[in-house]
Amino acid sequence: MAKLEAKNIVKYFDHDGQQLRALGGINLVVEEGDFICLVGPSGCGKSTFLRIVAGLQKPEEGQILLDNRPIVSTGPDRILVFQEGALFPWLKVRDNVEFGLKIAGIPESERHEISKRYLDMMDLTKFANSYTYQLSTGMRQRVAIARALVMDPEVLLMDEPFAALDAQTRDTLLVEMQMIWQKTKKTIVFVTHSVSEATVLGNKVAIFTHRPSTIKKIVNIENKRPRLSEDDSLMKYQQEILAELRPEVKLKEDAE
């Protein structure tokens, strides 16, 4: 059954006073439990699309359905993990993780119980009382993921969360992310510019065209997990995706 459905999403960017058609009618069906990665040439609007799904931006046309009901605003049923984490520097790690629960009015003892579970899962327990500036970039992204998971969202949205990480940290998190997905059975929509990352994580990879972007193709990847970025068996998918992507990147470059 469709968990999330995008129907003909159109969005304009304001570019030097000029209206640029960025999303040219995105149609996408995400099944319950999917781990779908969105790839596309830079500037194609895939991050914008994610923010529209989160309800943080409004499209000019089209609608997003969650469990067949159109979304009207942002809300904790679709939690977004930001590229830079967007953690609150004035809060300790535990309080960052519990932020949404506190907003929801959940009593302290229950909050601690829930946060403890996810701090454990993300290997953050010994940093619970640290401030975020004391953590490495990789640790911060773990906190951001824990903060999203405590909300138990219907759909987890991730906007290039590993883009700023070094290669080793990213490889570790790629494996952990797969374990989290298998453990929590969450529906995940994950934006990335890395084709290799997309093939490691996704059971589906959706390829965006250049602006005005639409979805060009969806590649299914059934390989068993945990997958690693160096797996030979992922090569053919990467080649397939890159073959679709290359002409789009060329179009983008020609347009500039």
């Binding site: 923010r51 939690i79 004035w90 401030y131």
Partner: protein
Amino acid sequence: MKPSVLAKKIAFFVGIVLVWQALDSANVWPDKIFPSPLEVGESLWYGASNGTLFYGIGTSLWRLAIGLSIAIAGGITLGVFMARVETVNQTIGSIVLGLQSIPSVAWSPLAIVWFGLTDAGVIFVTVAGAIFSVTINTYTGVKNINPDYIAAAQNMGAKGGQLITKVLVPAAFPYMISGFKQGWAFAWRGVIGAELLFSFLGLGFLLNVGRQLSDVSQVIAMMLVIMIIGIVIDGLIFKRLEDKVMSRWGLR
């Protein structure tokens, strides 16, 4: 403080007193208008021993505390609304900078007319002098918040009052601290200035009494007390608060 820095400071202050004493001994000016350090010290001792000095300090600090609290609470509220509600910014916001340029004592005549020679009048002058620096700094702080913080908070369900108290205010706090520091300095000037004009208790009043009695030692003694209180409050409260916030927010 490092010993070398402390030594420099001590040498500097001792130097000032020595130069001062030397000028006094040279008898360039009559003692009546240029008292010696010792006479100023005696004046302080006299005020301290009969209690008027401490009563004056207490009165002025009490007015400062009330006025500054109102200015901070009001300034934060106004600043947040200016930053978040365009209409408020376009209307009230357009006069805040102008109001900020009015020296706090310039509010005194109005305060006397409205409140008479009362504590409320002095406090009014204090609030008027301090509130707009807090407002402007809060506004700047809220405007400079990383938009992802606000988006993340809204995404997790924060809105209205919760968004303001749990995200906007703490996120803007490093800027607001600058507003508090400026605001407190303006508030202190406001208190003393108003007390001078109101002649109604407090350090400013004692300063004015000194002038009326042609007691220059007392005038200088009160100015010293006003300055020392300024240094102490800035160092003990605002500098510490600033250091704490800056390190907590990871800004230094």
